[in-house]
């Protein structure tokens, strides 16, 4: 098992290198001369050219890429922001806690609300509750985060004044953005829980448990839910990725100083090192989450577990 985890972590290194390459490539084809951005609009052509040279921009693409990777691995250096002149690592580190807080809050809300709804719907298939929540789920999946965010601000901050519309300084600040970000996941989890539980309910082994004289509530939780967990955990992983992407939008709407907003601002200002760093960090987080999910499989599915032995 430990061997497998180590193997997976080692596998992450080439993946992240390639992700870096993609992002580096994307940033290098972007219009706009980084040197010009650093020295400013009023600077002379000579100044720009001098800056190009000192930034190493005249070197071929792969040389620049390898230099970037080298700095990253040897010094944890993601370059320097063109705009603020601060190290990108430092900028990201100061924005990271907000993003983590926001996405964790959203995923926790989604799990705590979505999965129980799915469980109840599965045990009471075609009941009013089931039909109602499943329609609600479809609506939830179709809600654009940015619109939902605006509606939540409109209702709960502007009209009712219950929650602050922006920032992320207290617990009350977290609630609205976390709900905006988590709503889609609530719906996805509820639907997935329901459908995979319905799949399990039909299985013969559930009948075996019933024949033992077990209570329905225990059958549902100990056996049906337990067996349905693998697909549920899979969507939790996928959804976490969507959530990280959505966090970019969510942070913009709620004016939260997270990595997403940092990146959006950086894109607008053509501050490429910051964009690169941001994408890299979020992708790394996504890969780590997927790794955790894969490890979780081994604990949930004895067949997978025995493969690793």
């Amino acid at each position: 098992m430990i061997k497998y985890i180590l193997k997976r972590i080692l596998y992450l290194i080439p993946v992240m290198l390639l992700v870096t390459l993609i992002v580096f490539f994307l940033m290098s084809i972007t219009k706009g001369d980084p040197a010009r951005i650093v020295v400013g609009e009023s600077a002379s052509l000579e100044e720009v050219e001098a800056m190009r040279e000192s930034m190493g921009l005249n070197d071929p693409f792969f040389v620049r890429y390898l230099r970037y990777v080298r700095d990253l691995f040897l010094h944890g250096d993601l370059g320097t922001s063109y705009k603020s002149g601060l190290p990108v690592m430092k900028e990201i580190m100061s924005a990271l806690p907000s993003t983590i807080k926001l996405s964790l809050a959203a995923i926790i809300i989604a799990i705590l609300v979505g999965i129980p709804i799915g469980i109840i719907s599965a045990t009471k298939q075609y009941s009013f509750f089931d039909n109602f929540t499943m329609i609600l789920g479809l609506i939830g999946i179709s809600m654009p985060i940015f619109w939902l965010g605006l509606l939540l601000i409109l209702l709960f901050s502007v009209r009712l004044g219950w929650f602050p519309p922006s920032g992320l300084t207290s617990f009350r600040h977290v609630i609205l953005p976390a709900f905006a970000l988590g709503t889609q996941s609530i719906a996805v989890f509820a639907r997935m829980t329901r459908s995979s539980m319905l799949e399990v309910i039909r299985q013969d082994y559930i009948r075996t448990v019933r024949a033992k004289g077990q209570k329905e509530s225990r059958i549902t939780l100990d056996h049906v839910l337990r067996n349905a967990l693998v697909p549920i955990v899979t969507v939790v992983g996928i959804q976490f990725g969507n959530l990280l992407g959505g966090a970019v939008l969510c942070e913009t709407i709620f004016s939260i100083n997270g990595v997403g907003r940092l990146m959006v601002d950086a894109i607008k200002q053509r501050d490429f090192p910051v964009v690169q760093g941001g994408v890299l960090f979020i992708s790394l987080a996504f890969c780590l989450i997927n790794l955790i999910i894969d490890i979780a499989y081994a604990f949930l599915d004895p067949k997978i577990k025995s493969q690793y032995k």
């Binding site: 082994y205 075996t208 448990v209 024949a211 337990r226 949930l300 599915d301 004895p302 025995s306």
Partner: protein, 327 residues
Amino acid sequence: MNVFLKIEGLTVEYRSGNRHVHAVNDLDLQLGEGEVLGFVGETGAGKTTTALSILRILPNPPAKVLGGKVIFKDQDIIQLSDREMRAIRGEEIAMIFQDPMTSLDPVKTVGDQICEMILLHRNCSKKEAWEMAGDMLETVGIDRGRAGDYPHQFSGGMKQRVVIAIALSCKPSLLIADEPTTALDVTIQAQILELMKELKKKYQSSMIMITHDLGIVAEICDNVAIMYAGGVLEYGSVMDIYKDPRHPYTRALFDSIPDVHRDQARLKVISGLPPDPTDIPSGCPFHPRCPHCTERCKTEKPEVVHLNETHWARCFLAQEEGRYEHE
């Protein structure tokens, strides 16, 4: 003989949309304490449905018990509350299922699955239950050290042993075995059957053995019920049924067994198809396939004809012994 299990007029239906599948129709049956009853019939005759209604674990919906009584130890099981029923399941009546590949929870160790049964019905600690589960595994011929293994680590025959261990772990007074060997290889079938015979002796429990294999019945059963289209057509001791079958369907069943000692050009098969359970024939349900069908058979359902103390058949011709000896 005291009434141990008595089924009267049991009728079960499956509904899907507008289709009504008549799985069990007005079924009567009796089982004495310590007896082994063979439940014989073609696929779709309602054997499993009957078994599941005794345990009241029919999938509902779509299945619904429309009427009848299942008297077990002087109480009508159909009328019991869910809570009372749960106390009976496993403790008094246990079941062995047809397909061992799918009847064990894949994410629990076999030890845990046996323990679950024991903890439900016995007042003991988890540790004691685990010990008992180990004992049960040994009883069915599995090393107790394997209690911590998962179902996928066992072969089909071993899994069926585990299923048997679960069923017997609370020493039920009635054991229902639903084609326990059908899904297994022939050699494994013999082993499992041997084990069941052994355990029957050891536990002294009554048993309903559902099968379509008349050989198994001869080996293990005391009495036999021949099922067709959701009802019992003939009932009697193994001797009665094997030596003197009275219902044409029973005879046809015996005729369809290939005889290795005789050189048969073709297998004798029962002509026609099993009845469509959504549309059971009127009168005697077997009449469309019966070689001796009369006009009366088509409209009137035959009453039970008692032939001796234990032997009865639902056929107008049952009394006319030897009528179709030399065809």
